[in-house]
């Protein structure tokens, strides 16, 4: 997951390194650091904004190690799902148990159906649905699409994916 974090450093040499060490030790992947050296907080600390990717279970450890190092953690925003996908389904979507179709994605643990829009012109005609799927990463989104295609094939549903959706 991707984490955006605001921390506060004391104005002393080596503080930034002290802040970054726990992240690298716990296999975090730093995406950006903005160091506001000229922009002090009322507590005379230096605000720093960090963005990094890390396994969910390591985040609490990072926060506690930062605090042990005397670094204030002012704000943490977690964004678990980083990749967004869209797909269109055509067929007897409702009659083939739409809940089951959605569950196959949700049960993966790394992807979720976050929006569905259904159009049913007539009871005898094929329905159409647009699905939005979020996943923790690109590879996982691709896997979720593969899972969806597998269940769709069993239910005789046509899956229309975006171009360039494959993982390179």
């Amino acid at each position: 997951m991707r984490v955006s974090m605001d921390i506060e450093l004391k104005d002393a040499p080596g503080q930034l390194l002290l802040a970054l060490n726990p992240i690298s030790e716990l296999k975090g992947n730093l995406k950006s650091i903005v160091h506001h050296h000229e922009d002090r907080t009322p507590r005379s600390t230096i605000p720093v904004q960090l963005v990094f990717e890390v396994e969910h279970e390591n985040l609490d450890l990072i926060i506690s190690r930062l605090e042990e190092n005397g670094i204030g953690v002012a704000r943490v925003d977690e964004k678990r799902f980083m990749e967004h996908g869209a797909v269109i389904l055509i067929g007897h979507i409702v009659h083939t148990d739409i809940q089951d179709t959605i569950d196959t994605i949700d049960k993966t643990g790394f992807a979720e159906v976050v929006d569905i829009c259904l159009s049913m012109p007539h009871i005898d005609k094929r329905s159409s649905a647009s699905l939005k799927i979020d996943a923790v990463g690109r590879k996982e989104l691709h896997e979720a699409m593969a899972v969806l295609k597998e269940v769709a094939e069993k239910k005789d549903l046509l899956v229309i994916e975006p171009i360039g959706a494959e993982v390179a």
Partner: protein, 331 residues
């Protein structure tokens, strides 16, 4: 000035388009150093042969009035084998089951040392390697730009203009009939069946539209691209094919609400050949409407190059044939 004696084998809409284009572009051809004489024309009912050069206006008029160009009871293959000429313009109908008369004609041309320019997909889809081998052993030129995208230049673009680039993938809309049906379904919020009927009325779809709407035509073009660009030995069986017959107007509307259009996209990579309906962002270069064809070529040096053009129509297809003729014989 290079004298080129040619035969036109197959005098349906493409063959007639070729005759019209040759008439229209005679001066341009001469300015490029090509003095092109058509010495034989054959259709399914016979042929006209004249070693001094056929009067193309008269041949076109006769075809219009009587339904055939035939003066003598000769087959295309006989003409290819027995009339002295340099170039066979092969425009007989596509047969992807056996290769049909097109395959016989092309092999006969190479056996007799004649160059071939064709719009006929069937033989190339079935027997690409065999045909290339026959052409190369006979030291003959063999060009087929018109088989893939009509007036949209793709094979020659890659082989000439993008020479030196490694081609990573090609994806695009390779069937104008499907593109027309999907575009109109979205515009009119109408069913597939209605818009298929409309395109038949307009002559955009054939009476039997199976080849187009089931994705078979696009799949054949992918096979030709895969073999000619990636040097593969692919056949129709290697292509995953899904057509457009199940697309609903509701699905097009839902896709549009999300910023997409649905297009039948053909995709060629070294390890994958696939034709399937796909979501294309509405602002993407591949999101062209009507009967247009479009292809994006992904390369290592030039990045992605996209080209669009008319995929069908007798004059458009004849334009691709003319361009092949010029690239063989220009001085």
């Amino acid at each position: 000035m290079r004298k080129v004696r040619a035969s036109i084998i197959g005098f349906g809409s493409v063959g007639r388009g070729v005759a019209e284009v040759i008439l229209q572009k005679d001066d341009e051809l001469k300015s490029l150093g090509i003095d092109l004489d058509v010495v034989a024309i054959a259709d399914s009912r016979g042929a006209e042969v004249n070693s001094e050069g056929i009067d193309l206006n008269a041949a076109l008029a006769r075809k219009n009035e009587t339904g055939t160009v035939a003066i003598e009871d000769l087959t295309g293959e006989y003409v290819i084998r027995n009339v002295d000429h340099d170039l066979v313009i092969e425009t007989t109908p596509t047969d992807i089951e056996t290769g049909g008369t097109g395959l016989v004609n092309m092999l006969a041309a190479f056996e007799n040392g004649r160059d071939v320019v064709t719009s006929n997909k069937g033989p190339l889809t079935l027997k690409y390697q065999e045909l290339m081998k026959a052409a190369s052993e006979a030291d003959c030129k063999f060009m087929f730009e018109a088989t893939v995208g009509g007036a949209m230049p793709i094979i020659n673009l890659i082989k000439s203009t993008l020479a030196g680039n490694e081609i990573q993938s090609i994806e695009g809309i390779l069937n104008g009939t499907c593109n027309y049906i999907l575009t109109r379904m979205m515009e009119e919020k109408a069913s597939y069946e209605q818009m298929l009927a409309e395109s038949k009325e307009l002559g955009i779809a054939e009476t039997d539209p199976t080849y187009d709407v089931e994705g078979i035509d696009a799949a054949c073009k992918l096979v030709i691209l895969s073999n000619s660009i990636f040097g593969q030995n692919a056949t129709f069986q290697d292509v995953e094919v899904t057509g457009i017959t199940k697309i609903t107007p509701e699905s097009l509307a839902l896709a549009y609400d999300e910023g997409y259009v649905i297009k039948l996209i053909g995709e060629v990579r070294k390890d994958r050949l696939r034709v399937s309906p796909r979501l294309v962002p509405a602002s993407h270069p591949l999101a062209v409407g009507g009967t247009l064809n479009v292809a994006s070529v992904r390369t290592d040096l030039a990045g992605t190059v996209t080209v669009a053009g008319r995929g069908a129509g007798s004059i458009e297809t004849a334009s691709a044939i003319l361009s092949d003729v010029i690239s063989i014989y220009r001085e």
